[in-house]
Amino acid sequence: MQPALWTSKSGLDGQQTELDNISNNLANVKTPGYKKGRVQFEDLLYQKVRAPGAENSQSSLLPSGLMVGTGVKVVSTQKDFSNGNPIRTDNALDMSISGRGFFQILQADGTIAYTRDGSFQLDLNGNVVNSKGLLLQPTITFPTGVTGITIGEDGVVSTQVPNSSTLTQLGTIQLADFINPAGLEPIGGNLFVQTDASGTVLLNNPQTNGLGSIDSGYLESSNVNVVEELVNLIQTQRAYEMNARALETVDDMLKFVVQSL
């Protein structure tokens, strides 16, 4: 069948993926620690119908050939790991990382996932867990009856235990870093897992080795820029319409052939 039909179809597919991505970004505009995605397009291979310089007659060559492109495809969706704005919540267990780094979360299957979402709570045993109830690593457990939670910029968690006038240190929150954070795989639930492309995890305390500091009482908001997404939405919708028009035009041409001949 006419290649133009499939070319337009690939364009529609691509714009549809872009639209899915924009919708996902917009849907997550209020998700703490969410990182916006970006769709990367790539033009497909070109079909050489006539090579330039092909022999036209015994004594002349075609000055230029005919190369017809075969459309577009989505190569990847890239995450943008720029920091979102810190929002003040006054809840001591809400943490935002200013700078590089990820919190480590122990998943149900025993593997570690990484997140920038710092909305932590306590479970029934006094352990620090994320909003899905998964443990923060290294585990920090609050004894019963504690008053006041203090988390320092360097990740040291301390509290006031009953019948004591001094603060007791409960542990230090370690942060994870990657050579190429864009290579992390998002698995939902604000979590990312390590891949070959991200490189191996580098664990360090906050404020060391280039890692950011922990701001207690703040949450990192989503880094989605609503205006940018809406502009993208308009652009994508128009691009979709134009590809649909190309498809329709080619279809009309074929229809005309069928009806006339």
Partner: protein, 246 residues
């Protein structure tokens, strides 16, 4: 009679091919630094005794529109766009040096710098390896510097993007979609090409002109088909004339 139907039929087929180029341009309206393909039709006379009345139409891709796409600000340090004329050198699938203006760079699993199509970006001495770093900075002249972990103000020079200043006439697009020099030999890096960091060059497809082109080609195609039906009518008319009336 025969030449009329064949001429019109061949022209209709060529118009469809031209439509393919338009459809490809529209499909790539969101592909970064895509260069729209240009097409035109050329008259192709048949040579030989008794043939000069047959002039076939031939669709050609003339090359590409090398105008710069519009610049989009992204704020990402690894997004770079060439300012004015110039090209980035990339490694084509066959290992040769090819050229692209695509600047949405990222670091792959082997710590090498690649663009959004997955082609390795070439520096002045081959592919560029980026060591683990807290911050990566690409200067206007393509110089890549990094700050090691914990040393935000220190600068380590990692390499330099190879940027060349090639005349559009000396470049040809191949099946891989990349631009190659016509001679096949790599060009020298040019110091006059500069880039902007935090920007992306978008596709240079002009949607309106592609749509007009689409309509134009569709009408042209209808005319060709119409000519074919007229050829049929003529044929039937002459067939009737030759019938012996009873």
């Amino acid at each position: 009679m025969d030449k009329m139907v064949f001429l019109a039929g061949a022209a209709a087929q060529e118009t469809m091919l031209a439509q393919g180029i338009s459809a490809n341009n529209l499909a790539n309206i969101g592909t970064n630094a895509f260069k729209a393909q240009l097409q035109n039709a050329r008259s192709q006379p048949m040579y030989g005794p008794g043939h000069p009345t047959r002039v076939y139409s031939l669709t050609e891709s003339l090359g590409n529109n090398f105008a710069a796409g519009s610049m989009q600000s992204t704020g990402n340090a690894l997004d770079v766009a060439i300012n004015g004329q110039g090209w980035f050198a990339v490694q084509a699938a066959d290992g040769t040096e090819a050229y692209s203006r695509r600047g949405d760079l990222s670091i792959n699993a082997d710590s090498l710098l690649e663009n959004g199509r997955g082609e390795l970006i070439l520096g002045t001495s081959g592919p560029i390896s980026i060591p683990p770093a807290q911050r990566i900075n690409i200067g206007e002249d393509g110089l890549i510097t990094t700050s090691p972990f914990g040393h935000d103000n220190a600068k380590v020079v990692v390499g330099r993007l190879k940027m060349v200043d090639l005349d559009s006439k000396s470049l040809i697009q191949k099946e891989d979609g990349l631009f190659h020099t016509i001679t096949g030999s790599p060009a020298d890096a040019s110091a006059s090409v500069t880039l902007k960091s935090g920007m992306l060059e978008t596709s240079n497809v002009n949607a309106v002109s592609e749509l007009i082109n689409l309509i134009n080609l569709a009408r042209q195609h209808e005319l060709n088909i119409k000519s074919m039906t007229i050829a049929q009518d003529n044929d039937e008319a002459s067939a009737r004339l030759t019938q012996i009336s009873g």
